[in-house]
């Protein structure tokens, strides 16, 4: 489904004292309905990898194929269609501060042109799935970190994307909320959505028993089915 081929990303140095290599010749495949964790220390290149899949940034070298289509060859006006097939979850949630929980989740359905009655039926269902039915009217500033992340998951999942990219979704959460979020992602994966989870949380990975790709200094040092967090 997603094919990463010889992907490199180098950020040029602004001071001129050596460029930063975020990704260095990375290649792997992600199959449909797979749950893949990308692990590594901070700065290992996890976020850069997800940004490149979402075509938020352009690679220095290499290619990213999404269902056979090189995402970096897409024209600007073709990007929304690609992104509508991906649900992205960010460490800092990236919720619309001027919209309440319901509106944040409904926005994605509006973007894909869903009908009003479909939105009215779907949003409460997904809010129930993430346990936020009671918080539908609250704005992000009135929610806890765990609740915000659940809104972000609901938003990423509401339109049933082909794949969910979760960039350190538990980075700002306590262990209790972390476990909740991971369970949610596992549940979504069970429902048939491919999940790519980037994290540096050892406990999270070891409890999952799914495929783990370990990055170190921009290179893949391990890629194991039923992997563990080893660094």
């Amino acid at each position: 489904m997603i094919s990463i081929r010889n992907l490199s990303k180098i950020y040029p140095s602004r001071t001129g004292s050596g460029a930063a290599i975020a990704l260095d010749d990375v290649s792997f495949e992600i199959q449909e309905k797979e749950f893949v964790s990308i692990v590594g220390k901070s700065g290992a290149g996890k976020t850069t990898l997800l940004k490149l899949i979402l075509a938020e940034e352009a690679p220095t070298k290499g290619e990213v194929f999404f269902d056979g289509q090189n995402v970096h060859n897409l024209r600007k006006n073709q990007l929304p269609a690609l992104r509508q097939r991906i649900g992205m979850i960010f460490q800092d949630y990236k919720l619309f501060s001027s919209k309440n929980t319901y509106e944040n989740v409904a926005y994605v359905l509006e973007v894909i042109g869903a009908r009003e009655d479909d939105i009215k039926r779907n949003v409460p269902e997904v809010l129930e799935l993430v346990g936020l039915t009671d918080r539908a009217e609250n704005f992000p500033s009135e929610l806890s970190g765990g609740e915000k992340q659940r809104v972000a998951i609901a938003r990423a999942f509401i339109h049933r994307p082909d794949v969910i990219l979760a960039d350190e979704p538990t980075g700002n959460l306590d262990p209790y909320n972390t476990s909740d979020i991971i369970k949610l992602l596992a549940k979504i994966n069970k429902l048939g959505t491919t999940v790519v989870l980037s994290t540096h949380d050892k406990e999270v990975i070891n409890g999952l028993g799914k495929r783990v790709i370990t990055l170190d200094q921009g290179r893949i040092i391990r890629d194991e089915e039923k992997g563990r967090f080893v660094l």
Partner: protein, 301 residues
């Protein structure tokens, strides 16, 4: 398509109502532009009314000698009426002329007294002639010179409408020119302010805009509401300008009516629907145009 349009309108309205304070200056200047255009719109009909007022006036007055009898004067009237350039001939007898004078100078005791002093009716019988066109009274005077009843005529007065009409035309044209220049300047200012309002609105939502982009919102799904916001600014300005124009026409109606033969309110109401459409078109056009430039310049998706 219809769903997206509805959503764009809804989001645009939200942006407009939430940024009301920011839109205030834009609305103010846009009202000025629309009112200026309204003024120019009415300049045409008002000067037409003024000119037709002038046209009602008599072109040539022929005064007959003291001893000319009415029978001869009536013959002359019939002759004059046959002239191709003459539209209308009206006979004013000595008595009628005196009466009109007395009526016109009711309060002026000095004039009335001096008239009594004279002891007889000094006014002459006359024919008031109106030409077909304001400009061909000259032909009439030429014809009068070569007529058989020339010996009856004491004097001929020309009421020169031509220069008055020309003055009204020139005045209206002058105001029109100045008005157009002023409108263009004001419209440019309004455009710049509207542009800036949308620019600030875009800047204020820059974080949300980047999120919209990442969740797959298309170019126009993001841009549309800002464009709509500019259109709302124009629409609201047009409505306010219409109300101001309506109230102004209502207020000045009696004052204008006292000075000239013009019913300002009636004129306004006659043109109200068309005017409203023009005002809305100008408002929305200006709002949409400037937001479109702002969106294209500052909202790169």
């Amino acid at each position: 398509m219809l769903i997206s349009l509805k959503r764009t309108i809804k989001t645009g309205w939200k942006g407009f109502s939430r940024n009301m304070g920011l839109s205030f200056a834009t609305i103010f200047v846009m009202i000025m532009v629309i009112l200026m255009i309204t003024f120019l719109y009415f300049l045409g009909p008002v000067s037409e009314i003024l000119i037709s007022d002038v046209k009602q006036k008599v072109d040539v007055s022929v005064y007959f000698k003291e001893d000319a009898d009415e029978e001869n004067i009536m013959k002359a009237k019939a002759e004059i009426a046959k002239m191709p350039d003459v539209k209308e001939v009206e006979y004013v007898s000595k008595e009628e002329a005196l009466e009109t004078f007395l009526n016109n100078h009711k309060g002026d005791s000095v004039l009335i007294e001096s008239l009594t002093e004279v002891g007889y009716n000094p006014f002459l019988a006359s024919l008031n002639i109106r030409a077909q066109e304001a400009f061909n009274y000259e032909n009439i005077t030429k014809l009068l010179d070569n007529n058989p009843f020339k010996y009856l005529i004491e004097k001929v007065d020309y009421n020169q409408r031509k220069p008055v009409i020309e003055k009204v035309y020139a005045f209206a044209a002058g105001i029109n020119k100045t008005g157009i220049v002023l409108s263009v300047i004001l419209a440019a200012i309004a455009g710049i302010i509207a542009f800036n309002t949308i620019r600030i609105a875009i800047h204020n939502s820059s974080e949300e805009l980047s999120i919209m982009r990442l969740v797959g919102a298309s170019n126009w799904f993001v841009r549309g509401p800002f464009l709509m916001q500019g259109m709302f600014i124009g629409f609201v300005s047009a409505l306010i300008a219409f109300i101001i124009a309506f109230l102004s026409a209502y207020t000045i109606n009696s004052k204008v009516g006292a000075v000239m033969n013009l019913n300002a309110f009636e004129l306004f109401m006659k043109h109200a629907f068309r005017l409203l459409l023009i005002q809305i078109a100008v408002g929305i056009g200006l709002g949409a145009g400037s937001s479109l430039i702002a969106v294209r310049k500052y909202l790169k998706i």
